[in-house]
Symmetry: C2
Subunit: 216 residues, 2 copies
């Protein structure tokens, strides 16, 4: 990404950085709607994307080099949103009860489900597209570091079980959310999503908080 | 797979089905050793694989149509092994203690770590190679169904927490193992693997068993 940004900036101009974000948003909605409609990522052409977004091929290439760069930027936009929502979980006050953790977890599942097809596509492509793979790995690493910090601080104040290893536990729980939500949310109705959120809350609550010094 | 097996059988003959398994084993070891050595799957040529396995290109094509079929069969062989080891976890007696669960989980982590590069390759390729993707999804679904059955039976006999949803909890825990071990085990030394196994044991123990009617 870093080596591409300057040339894109130069072509679109500093004042249109906001314009780029808006344009990316339109393309993101077009891509998600095409994926929801059953088109596979490999079959998705730039022509279809720009038509669905009501723009032109030439405008597309003013902003993006190729479909891979678009997917990477869509992933970064969606993951920023998911990390923000997930952050509400690990930024909960340390004396939060299970209902508060469950509420935050419900928000994570809903936010993920909104982008389920895009996230499944990202997961499919990540292994063979180096840029998309790095973006996904970066963002999961960030989620893992944030959760590990939350665990360590919680252990200091007594709200998280003292005996657990922060780094590997965070890695396993983030992997559970990453892969579990990709496997379980596509096509799930609101009732099914609530059951998934409840199961995630149970796993997180019982492994991190239940039985810790200052929790019930 | 199903549509390929008959022609392979016909060419190699019924008596060499054992020969095919042995040959596949040699190729599996060659592929794993090349991946461990740092060669990426996309760079891996049939020529390199047969050279490392001490066989010939023509013999390779008597057994496999292409590299994708070889990877799929390697995955099935490795996953059979992993499912067998994982099965020891959910086939534990229902009154097993935490140490027994931890021992079984340590075996799962070790078995996975032995094939860490192959499994990471499979995960990378699964999204874009339909046959490999289906094989991985089938095997994960089987793990999920087995674990869900274990949870339901445990709930009947009182060894697993009654309040949890078997299907989504099993889906999340299998996803945690699948993705977590792929992210955490490559390059991990025995001490790090023991920490990962301990964290998995804690998450599984506290979410499934701890606090259930007939456990401590």
């Amino acid at each position: 990404m870093a080596d591409q940004a300057p040339s894109v900036r130069k072509r679109t101009g500093a004042k249109s950085s906001r314009g780029h974000v808006d344009f990316r948003g339109r393309l993101l909605r077009a891509v998600e709607s095409l994926l929801e409609g059953g088109t596979s990522y490999s079959d998705l052409g730039i022509g279809q994307i720009v038509e669905a977004a009501g723009t032109s091929r030439s405008t597309f290439y003013l902003h993006f080099r190729d479909k891979s760069q678009l997917l990477e930027e869509c992933l970064r936009a969606v993951m920023d949103d998911l990390l923000r929502v997930a952050g509400l979980t690990w930024q909960l006050p340390h004396d939060s009860d299970r209902a508060a953790v469950g509420g935050a977890m419900g928000d994570v599942v809903s936010a993920f489900a909104t982008h389920a097809r895009l996230m499944a596509t990202v997961a499919d492509v990540a292994g063979v597209d180096g840029r998309v793979g790095s973006a996904l790995a970066d963002l999961m690493d960030q989620g893992r570091r944030n959760l590990a910090d939350h665990i360590r601080i919680g252990q200091q104040v007594g709200s998280v079980n003292a005996g657990i290893d922060a780094s590997s536990t965070a890695g396993l729980l983030v992997a559970m959310a990453e892969r579990g939500l990709i496997r379980l949310t596509p096509g799930a109705d609101p009732v099914a999503l609530a059951v998934i959120a409840d199961s995630m809350t149970h796993i997180v609550w019982s492994s991190l908080y239940e039985g810790a010094a200052c929790r019930g």
